[in-house]
C-alpha cells in the first residue's frame, strides 16, 4: 500500500521551535514531565439529498497543547497562536493549572516508562489523499451514485454523505521523544428511503460499507464493491418493506461482521478500557463490569472467543505509529479462550496498576483536549480453519441472520445491550427463508458471548468501525475499527420494536 509523505503545509509550521520554547519553560518552572502536541486537523463533509447538494463544508483546526506533571499533579493548557512566546506562555499556564490542582489531588500522577523515539515519522496507508481530489469530482461521484438509487423502482429519497479527515500530529516531550504523523480516513454512506404515502409506512436501508483508514481510492472501488452494493440496495429495501414482522422470542443468531463490530465495540471495547474499570468515567461514559480484580479469571464468553486490541492494523481507524503520550503502538490480547486477560492502557494507569509499559491507547481528538485512554481497534479473531457464513447458517434450525448496524444502546457498566440492524433473514432448517422486519436483539454481555458457539473463518472477516466513538468530559470523539468474522450465537432474546411501542 502506497502512503504519501507528510503534508508540507504541516511540516512548514514552526513545530520544533514551539516545542522547544514550551518544554524549556515547563522544565524551568519545575515540571517533572512535560509534553507538547501541535495538531492540524482537516475535515470535509459533503451531503446530497435526492442527488442535489445539501451541504458542503471544509474545516481546518490548528493549535497546540502543553501538558505537564508538577509534583504529581496534571496541568493542561492549549493555545492557537503559533509563536514561541505563546507556546511558553501556555506552558506556564499549564504549570499554574497543575499547582492549582495540587490542593485537591490526592493521587500522585506517575507515568509508565517508555523508550524514547527521536524524530520518528508515521503515515497511514492510503493511495489518494481525499483533500487532493477536486470538489467537482466528489460531487459528481455522489450525484451519480444517488441517481442510480433514485432511478430504482420504489425508492422515494436518497441521502448521500462523504466525510473525509486528515489528522496531523506532532509530539515532543521532555524525555526526548519527537514524532510527526499523518492519518487519512474516509466514510462514504448512502441511505435509500422507501415511503408509502397511503399507509404512512416508511423504511430505510443504508450501505454496509464501513468507514475506513483509507483515501479516496476507497470511493473508487479499492476495498469495497460499490457498484454491487448500490445495485442490490433498492430491491433489498423493497423486500424488507414487504417482509413479515418478527414474532418476539428466543432465536439462534448468525451475525454478519457489519453488525457484530458494533456489539464488540460496546460490550468488549468499552468494557476493557482500564480507566473505565477503575472508575475514571463513572460520571460520564460509565464504569465496567470487567473490574480489575477479575483480570485473568473473568469468563467473558465461550472458548471460541479470542479478542485482541491493536493500534497497528492496516486501514484500522485507531491505528497509528505512536500514541499521544509518545508510546509506540502494538497488538495484545484482551480475551483469550473466553477469559479476560488484558486491558487498554495509557501511561498513568499502566503505572498505577503495575502493568509495565502502556499499550499505547492515549488519544486526544483535538489540540485543545487532554489525551485520555481511548479505544484501540478491538477485534474478534476468526478461527483459522473456521466455517463459511453458509456453514454457520447451515447449523441453525430456527434462527435469524443479521446484517448491518443501526440502533445501539448499552448500560453504564456494559451489561445490558439492545441492537437492531439493516437487514434480517429468517433461518429455517439451515437455510435463509426470506426477510423479516422489526427485529431487535437484547442480551447481557457475558451471556451473549457465552452463547457464541462458533466463529467463522478468515474469509468471513470484515473491518467495521466508526469515526465518532464518544468518551470523556469535555466530550471527545475518536475513530476506531473492529475486525470480526461472522459468528453463531444460540438462544438470544429477540424483541419487536413495533410491539414494544404498544402498537
Amino acid at each position: 500500500m502506497v502512503s504519501g509523505a507528510i503534508d508540507d503545509r504541516f511540516l512548514a509550521l514552526p513545530r520544533h521551535e514551539l516545542a522547544d520554547a514550551a518544554l524549556a519553560r515547563a522544565s524551568q518552572l519545575g515540571a517533572e514531565h512535560a509534553d507538547f502536541r501541535l495538531e492540524r486537523l482537516r475535515d470535509q463533509t459533503t451531503r446530497l439529498h435526492d442527488a442535489r447538494l445539501e451541504s458542503s463544508s471544509d474545516g481546518e483546526t490548528s493549535g497546540f497543547a502543553v501538558r505537564v506533571v508538577v509534583d504529581g499533579s496534571w496541568g493542561f493548557a492549549a493555545g492557537v497562536e503559533l509563536t514561541a512566546d505563546e507556546a511558553a506562555r501556555v506552558a506556564a499556564q499549564a504549570v499554574e493549572m497543575a499547582r492549582t490542582s495540587q490542593a485537591i489531588n490526592s493521587e500522585p500522577v506517575e507515568l509508565a516508562d517508555e523508550p524514547t523515539y527521536h524524530d520518528a515519522t508515521w503515515v497511514s496507508a492510503y493511495e489518494v489523499n481525499p483533500f487532493d481530489v477536486p470538489q467537482a469530482d466528489v460531487q459528481e461521484r455522489l450525484r451519480e451514485w444517488s441517481a442510480r438509487l433514485l432511478a430504482a423502482a420504489g425508492i422515494s429519497h436518497v441521502d448521500a454523505e462523504l466525510l473525509a479527515e486528515q489528522e496531523n500530529k506532532f509530539y515532543a516531550d521532555l524525555a526526548g521523544t519527537v514524532t510527526t504523523q499523518q492519518r487519512v480516513r474516509i466514510a462514504p454512506e448512502l441511505t435509500a428511503v422507501w415511503v408509502d404515502p397511503e399507509s404512512g409506512s416508511f423504511d430505510t436501508m443504508r450501505t454496509l460499507a464501513p468507514p475506513a483508514g483509507r483515501g479516496y481510492e476507497y470511493v473508487q472501488g479499492t476495498g469495497w464493491d460499490w457498484d454491487r452494493e448500490l445495485e442490490e440496495l433498492p430491491a433489498l429495501l423493497l423486500e424488507k418493506s414487504r417482509a413479515p414482522t418478527v414474532e418476539p422470542g428466543t432465536y439462534d443468531l448468525v451475525v454478519h461482521p457489519s453488525n457484530l463490530w458494533l456489539t464488540i465495540h460496546e460490550s468488549i471495547g468499552h468494557a476493557t478500557e482500564l480507566d473505565r474499570a477503575l472508575g475514571y468515567e463513572a460520571n460520564y461514559a460509565g464504569t465496567s463490569f470487567a473490574t480489575f480484580d477479575k483480570l485473568g479469571s473473568l469468563r467473558y464468553g465461550s472458548p471460541a472467543m479470542h479478542v485482541t486490541g491493536d493500534r497497528v492494523a492496516e486501514h484500522g481507524l485507531a491505528s497509528t505509529g505512536y500514541d499521544d503520550e509518545g508510546v509506540a503502538t502494538q497488538q495484545w490480547d484482551l480475551v483469550r479462550d473466553g477469559i479476560l486477560v488484558g486491558y487498554q492502557l495509557d501511561r498513568r494507569i499502566a503505572r498505577l496498576k503495575g502493568l509495565g509499559r502502556s499499550n499505547g491507547c492515549a488519544f486526544a481528538d483535538a489540540p485543545y483536549h487532554f489525551p485520555i485512554q481511548r479505544m484501540a481497534n478491538v477485534s474478534l479473531q476468526p478461527a483459522p480453519d473456521g466455517p463459511s457464513t453458509q456453514e454457520l447458517i447451515g447449523a441453525v434450525g430456527r434462527g435469524i441472520y443479521v446484517l448491518g448496524d443501526k440502533s445501539w444502546s448499552i448500560d453504564m457498566q456494559r451489561y445490558n445491550f439492545q441492537f437492531t440492524g439493516q437487514r434480517f433473514y429468517r433461518i429455517e432448517g439451515g437455510r435463509l427463508a426470506g426477510m423479516l422486519r422489526d427485529v431487535a436483539y437484547q442480551a447481557t454481555t457475558t451471556e451473549f458471548w457465552g452463547s457464541m458457539e462458533a466463529v467463522g473463518g478468515p474469509r468471513t472477516h470484515l473491518l467495521g468501525g466508526t469515526f465518532t466513538c464518544g468518551k470523556g468530559q469535555p466530550g471527545q470523539g475518536a475513530p476506531v475499527s473492529h475486525g470480526c468474522p461472522a459468528a453463531l450465537f444460540r438462544g438470544v432474546r429477540i424483541l419487536n420494536p413495533v410491539q414494544e411501542a404498544g402498537r
Binding site: 493549535g63 460520564y284 448499552i410 445490558n416 469535555p474
Partner: protein, 464 residues
C-alpha cells in the same frame, strides 16, 4: 487584531455575489474529578472563522463554505479566495436564498469578546477539596465534572448585517458511589456563570439518594407507574425536538409525517394541554436571538444566517404547532419559517404549576411507583413511532405510600416521547434542569417532573 478586524477584512476582500462571515471566539475552563480526587483539567481558547462565499451561476446560486481556526489578518485573503473557488466549483445549493438585509444593528458589535478563565471556579475548587475529604470520611466516592464556556459570535454579511452574541454555557455534575460500588447516585445542573452553583447542595441530593438506596429490592421488567424527574424528561423532550424537522416530516419519514403527505402540524398529540416551546428570552436560559450556522443541514441553512430567532411553540396545548424550518423548507412545506432555537421548555396546564410542589409532591402522592434519577444511552429504535430505547442510571427508587422505601435495580426502557405525551398522568412545575445524556450539547432546558402510569421497562440491567 480583533475578530471584528478579521471579519471586515474578509468582507472587504470578497469578490463574489455575496459573502457571509462568522467569527467565533471561545474560552473554556474545566475541572474533572474521580475517586475523590481531581483527575484532569484544562483552560483553552479557540478562534474559528467561517467564510461563506455566494456565487450566482446560470443554473442557480451556490455557497462555498470554508472554516479555519486561529486565522490571522494575513490568512484572510487565501481563505476568501478558497471559499469563492469552492462556490464556483459546486452545483447550485438546494437551500439557496437571497442573503438577509440588515435589520436593527446588533448591540455591542465593537466590544471585545466576552471570556472566561479558571477564576470561574475560585469558590468551587476549594469546596470540592473539602467535599473530597468529607466523602472519604463517610464512605462515599465522588466523581464529576464542571465546565464553563463563553463563546462570542460575530456575524457579518455583504448585505450589511452586523450581529454579535455572547453565550455563557456551564454545567456541573456530581456522581456519588458507595465504597463497595453497590449504590450510585447523580445530580447535575446547568449554569450561566457558576455564581449560582452550590456544590454542597448537589452533594446533599446525592447523599440523600445514596441513603435511600441502603435498602434494595429487585423488581422484574414490566410496565410501572413511574415518576420521571426533570432531567429524564429533558432528555426525552430534547430528542423529540431534534426529531421535529419539517423537511423530514414533509417527506414522510418521521413520526411527524401525515399519512397521505405533508406534516402533522395541527394534529393533537395529547389530550393534556402541554406546551413545548423555545424562546431566546427565557429567563436563565437565554440564547442567541439570531441564527448563525457554518453548515447547511435539514435544521439550518447558511443562507439564513442572521435570521431572527424568536419565541416558538413546537407543541401548543397538546397540538403539534411548528417544526424546525429553514426558509427553504418553509417554501417546500408552505409553512412559517421557524428556525431552531437553542433552548427548550415543557409546560403543563396552567403554565406548568399544578400545586404539587414538584418531584417531592409527586412522591408524597404516590401509593406505589418508581422514581427515576436520570436516563442514559438513549437511541432511536423505530422512527415511525419515535420509539427510543435507553437505560435508567444512578438510582431507581421504589415509592410506597408517599415515601421512598428503597432502591431497585436499573432497567432498559423502550418508549416513544411522542406516545408518552399522550399518557402523562401528572405534570409538575417546570424547572431548569440538566439532561443527563444530551447535556453535552443542550443545557438550556426547563422541564417538569411527570408521572406516567405505565412506563415500559423492557428488561433488567445489572448495572449498579
Amino acid at each position: 487584531m480583533t475578530p471584528q478586524d478579521v471579519v471586515e477584512r474578509a468582507l472587504a476582500l470578497s469578490r463574489s455575489d455575496g459573502c457571509i462571515v462568522l467569527a467565533e471566539e471561545s474560552s473554556t475552563a474545566n475541572l474533572r474529578w474521580a475517586n475523590n480526587t481531581l483527575t484532569t483539567n484544562g483552560v483553552t481558547r479557540t478562534r474559528d472563522l467561517t467564510v461563506i462565499a455566494v456565487a450566482d451561476g446560470a443554473e442557480g446560486r451556490s455557497a462555498g463554505v470554508v472554516t479555519r481556526s486561529g486565522v490571522t489578518l494575513d490568512d484572510v485573503e487565501a481563505m476568501v479566495r478558497a471559499a469563492e473557488a469552492k462556490a464556483r466549483s459546486l452545483p447550485p445549493a438546494e437551500d439557496a436564498a437571497p442573503l438577509l438585509a440588515a435589520g436593527r444593528p446588533g448591540q455591542g458589535w465593537d466590544a471585545p469578546p466576552d471570556e472566561t478563565s479558571v477564576e470561574v471556579f475560585s469558590s468551587l475548587a476549594p469546596a470540592l477539596g473539602e467535599l473530597f475529604q468529607a466523602a472519604v470520611a463517610s464512605g462515599r466516592t465522588l466523581y464529576g465534572y464542571a465546565e464553563h464556556d463563553v463563546t462570542t459570535t460575530y456575524l457579518a454579511t455583504s448585505t450589511g448585517v452586523r450581529l454579535r452574541h455572547d453565550q455563557p454555557t456551564g454545567r456541573i455534575e456530581l456522581t456519588g458511589r458507595s465504597t463497595d460500588g453497590s449504590r450510585s447516585a447523580w445530580a447535575g445542573r446547568s449554569t450561566r456563570g457558576f455564581d449560582d452553583v452550590d456544590v454542597l447542595e448537589l452533594d446533599a441530593a446525592v447523599t440523600q439518594r445514596l441513603d435511600w438506596a441502603r435498602r434494595r429490592t429487585d423488581l422484574p421488567a414490566g410496565r410501572y407507574e413511574t415518576i420521571l424527574p426533570p432531567s429524564a424528561v429533558g432528555d426525552l423532550m430534547t430528542y423529540l425536538y431534534w426529531s421535529a424537522v419539517a423537511l423530514d416530516a414533509h417527506e414522510g419519514r418521521t413520526v411527524f409525517s401525515r399519512r397521505g403527505g405533508g406534516t402533522r402540524i395541527g394534529d393533537r398529540l395529547t389530550d393534556l394541554e402541554v406546551t413545548l416551546r423555545s424562546d431566546p428570552g427565557l429567563q436563565g436560559l437565554e440564547c442567541s436571538p439570531f441564527l448563525a450556522t457554518d453548515a447547511s443541514s435539514r435544521y439550518a441553512s447558511v443562507f439564513d444566517n442572521g435570521m431572527a430567532v424568536g419565541p416558538t411553540d413546537w407543541i401548543h396545548d397538546g397540538r403539534l404547532a411548528a417544526l424546525v424550518q429553514t426558509r427553504h423548507s418553509a417554501r417546500v412545506t408552505g409553512l412559517e419559517p421557524t428556525p431552531f432555537v437553542d433552548n427548550l421548555q415543557l409546560a403543563g396546564p396552567q403554565g406548568g404549576s399544578d400545586g404539587t410542589g414538584g418531584t417531592g409532591g409527586m412522591i408524597a402522592a404516590t401509593r406505589r411507583g418508581l422514581l427515576l434519577t436520570c436516563l442514559w444511552y438513549i437511541r432511536e429504535v423505530d422512527p415511525q413511532t419515535l420509539l427510543l430505547t435507553g437505560l435508567t442510571r444512578d438510582g431507581v427508587f421504589l415509592v410506597e405510600d408517599g415515601e421512598v422505601t428503597g432502591a431497585v435495580n436499573n432497567f432498559r426502557f423502550n418508549e416513544s416521547p411522542v406516545d408518552l405525551l399522550g399518557r402523562l398522568a401528572e405534570v409538575g412545575p417546570a424547572e431548569p434542569t440538566l439532561p443527563r445524556e444530551f447535556g453535552d450539547y443542550f443545557t438550556r432546558v426547563a422541564m417538569p417532573p411527570v408521572r406516567v402510569a405505565d412506563f415500559n421497562m423492557s428488561s433488567v440491567s445489572q448495572a449498579s
